[in-house]
């Protein structure tokens, strides 16, 4: 987006990033020692700005997408009638939303939510049920790498979590599944969480000290 940006603009932008991030960092970590830090009002102001600017960028993003579809219609590219449908639906709902007082709590927008958004999103995500079973066909196999372990973890959990099979299992199986979730799986997920958090930390440090730092 910001092409032809001169190096000094880049430097100032990075300086702003570093200053803002540094200030928030000090505010957050200093809170444990002094809850009445002078940085607090500035931090709150920055968070408020971020909230408002995010709203601006969100609308900009929607506008961007809409523009892309308008371009597709204009170019007559593949599936342009569907892009037209998208744009028409967008305009209708937008007009309905702004014409009625109350925004999304107006009766017409509530109706739109109940008649289109909620059933549409729910059905779309319900399809993932099919994908999961189709994926199981190919990946829950003994022959694949780690297949035995994956299959063992999946089977014990599946059998315990489903009422039909759970009734037939001895109590020790249920206890074992609980233990599996609470000890080894929890430990693995902790390792993954720590790895992720360390990655965020190193990315931040890298920014502060430059890409080579």
């Amino acid at each position: 987006m910001f092409a032809q940006r001169s190096p000094w603009i880049n430097r100032i932008a990075l300086l702003i990033v570093a200053l803002v991030a540094g200030l928030l960092f000090v505010d957050r970590l200093g809170d444990g020692f002094n809850s009445d830090l002078p940085t607090r009002p500035i931090a709150n102001l920055l968070y408020t700005w971020a909230l408002l600017l995010s709203a601006f960028t969100l609308i900009l993003g929607v506008f961007h997408l809409l523009w892309t579809h308008l371009d597709r219609i204009q170019q007559g590219s593949q599936e342009w009638p569907l892009s037209l449908l998208l744009v028409v639906a967008f305009v209708l709902v937008l007009v309905a939303g702004f014409a009625a007082s109350g925004g999304v709590t107006s009766p017409l927008l509530e109706w739109t939510f109940d008649a289109l958004i909620a059933p549409g999103q729910a059905t779309l995500f319900a399809l993932t049920g099919f994908f999961v079973v189709a994926a199981a066909y190919r990946y829950l196999r003994l022959g694949s790498p780690g297949g035995l372990w994956i299959l063992a973890g999946a089977l014990i959990t599946l059998l315990v979590q489903t009422p039909l099979s759970q009734q037939a299992l001895p109590p020790v199986a249920t206890q074992f599944a609980d233990w599996l979730l609470l000890v080894p799986v929890m430990a693995v997920m902790r390792g993954a969480l720590l790895g992720g958090a360390l990655a965020v930390l190193f990315a931040g440090v890298r920014l502060f000290f430059g890409p080579k730092g």
Partner: protein, 479 residues
């Protein structure tokens, strides 16, 4: 960044970094695009592509970053046998390796044998992603990438890397929260070069879809689960119940409504008894959401919960007990405000009315909330609130989540950061039992249908896995 580090989005044509998951312009899902297609669509950088201006005194980067960063090569994931001769280790290269460049000795993943998957099919185009939020559409993300893209970050080796390319791609899809739906049927089955509907034998997915649909419809129709049949209750539900039950009347509960209609089918079952319990306790709820569909979903479930809550709770005016804080954009960047200055972060409700004089807000001006309730369909939402809100206000957290989220947030339960966890429909049923809540007839029928459906789905899954294993064995024996 040079020209080879970008490729055109198949959806809108906008140049994107090779590592991009979503198109920066239209949000299309880009992971796993066909390597050939990426190469074909590779185009020189638009003059407006965000770039780091290299320092004048910096060494000139090699003309082809794929030489120093082999993971940028479109065919990095492809079997060696399918790569061009010039790129295979051992073959002559136009430019011999120089000092400082990664070699197979110090980066074992570059070795020919480490990535060889002779049975791997060529990658196929990923489905386009149109629904699932607005990630990737927003310009700052593009800027963010341009500002922080590491110059030569090495590839990290993960457990997933041991799996074949196709497996990794589908596992990513499987565990992603977005719906991969706009698939190209012609590319559905690269193994046989035919679409899913026209594939050969068991590679056709239609039999799996049809079997599951038929089993579920029949199961729901007959609903033969016995009335006392109940799913296993995973640990954490009783702790959640105790935490809410110990709340005093008028305690302020900050609620993060982190699910929308896409996951409401599961989440409503888990959240309904918890919200009912809170209303019965007379807690004051301040509900906010960072999903556009969240506030409307919350309004509907709370309305249902009010009809199910006891008359004692209904005798209170809802206006006193509920503040609809609405939508809070900004993600991580705006969330800390809720942790350290909630009054400032929610000045108005969904109707645009000032909420400064509401009891919950007045209480939050001086004290932390008595409880944070997170209703989330994704583990990231729970983690974000723990990191950005709880770390600032130190309030205990009760999480109500999708079953899929449960394992990922167990470490937080173990460390005591989450005091109670209700996950999935099973958690909801267990919570209802603890509340000694008597279901209506239709509620009982619906619950029976759910349990029967789960039973039948397990049978289908076991059958599919058994057939899949046999098919795998048969494939191995083929010459």
């Amino acid at each position: 960044m040079t020209s080879t580090s970008t490729f055109g989005c198949p959806h809108c044509g906008k140049p994107n970094p090779l590592a991009a998951t979503f198109c920066g312009a239209c949000g299309a899902y880009l992971l796993g695009l066909d390597a050939a297609e990426m190469t074909r669509k590779s185009n020189p950088p638009a003059d407006d592509e965000p770039v780091f201006q290299p320092r004048n005194d910096a060494p000139t980067p090699p003309s082809d970053p794929a030489q120093t960063q082999p993971w940028l090569r479109p065919d990095f994931d492809q079997p060696e046998s399918e790569r061009p001769d010039s790129e295979r280790p051992g073959s002559e290269r136009p430019n011999p390796p120089e000092r400082g460049r990664p070699s197979p000795d110090d980066q074992p993943w570059l070795r020919a044998d480490s990535d060889a998957q002779p049975t791997d099919p060529p990658p196929r185009p990923a489905p386009q992603r149109l629904v699932g939020g607005l990630q990737g559409l927003i310009e700052p993300i593009e800027i963010d990438q341009s500002l922080f893209r590491p110059e030569s970050a090495g590839p990290t080796r993960s457990a997933l890397d041991d799996l074949p390319y196709e497996t990794r791609r589908e596992l990513r899809q499987l565990f992603a929260t977005d719906v991969p739906i706009l698939e190209d049927p012609a590319q559905e089955n690269p193994e046989v070069g035919l679409s899913a509907g026209q594939g050969r034998g068991l590679w056709r997915r239609n039999w799996i879809y049809g079997l599951l649909l038929a089993a579920l419809l029949l199961g729901l129709w007959f609903a033969n689960a016995t009335p006392d049949s109940r799913p296993h209750s995973w640990p954490g539900v009783s702790a959640a119940y105790s935490a809410i039950d110990s709340l005093s009347a008028d305690a302020v509960v900050l609620v993060n409504w982190a699910y929308d209609p896409s996951n409401a089918g599961e989440m409503d079952l888990a959240a309904l008894p918890v919200i009912e319990h809170l209303l019965e306790k007379g807690a004051r709820l301040l509900v906010v959401s960072q999903l556009p569909g969240g506030p409307a979903t919350a309004r509907r479930l709370i309305a249902v919960a009010r009809t199910g809550a006891s008359q004692a709770a209904l005798s209170r005016q809802l206006g006193d007990t509920l503040v609809e804080g609405g939508y809070l954009p900004g993600g991580v960047a705006s969330l800390p405000l809720l942790g350290q200055a909630p009054v400032q972060s929610v000045p108005v409700d969904m109707q645009g009315r000032a909420v400064g004089n509401r009891a919950a807000i007045r209480a939050l001006a001086t004290d932390s909330p008595a409880l944070l309730l997170i209703l989330a369909a994704r583990s990231e939402e729970v983690q974000r609130w723990i990191e950005q809100v709880q770390s600032l206000d130190d309030a205990p957290i009760v999480a109500v989540t999708s079953a899929a989220v449960d394992p990922a947030i167990r470490p937080y339960v173990d460390s005591g950061q989450i005091v109670g966890l209700v996950s999935g429909y099973a958690g909801g049923i267990e919570y209802q039992t603890l509340m000694a809540d008597v279901l209506t007839t239709s509620g009982q029928e619906s619950q029976r249908r759910h349990i029967t459906g789960q039973n039948w789905a397990l049978v289908v899954l076991l059958l599919v896995v058994a057939v899949g294993s046999l098919a795998g064995l048969a494939e191995r024996r083929e010459p």
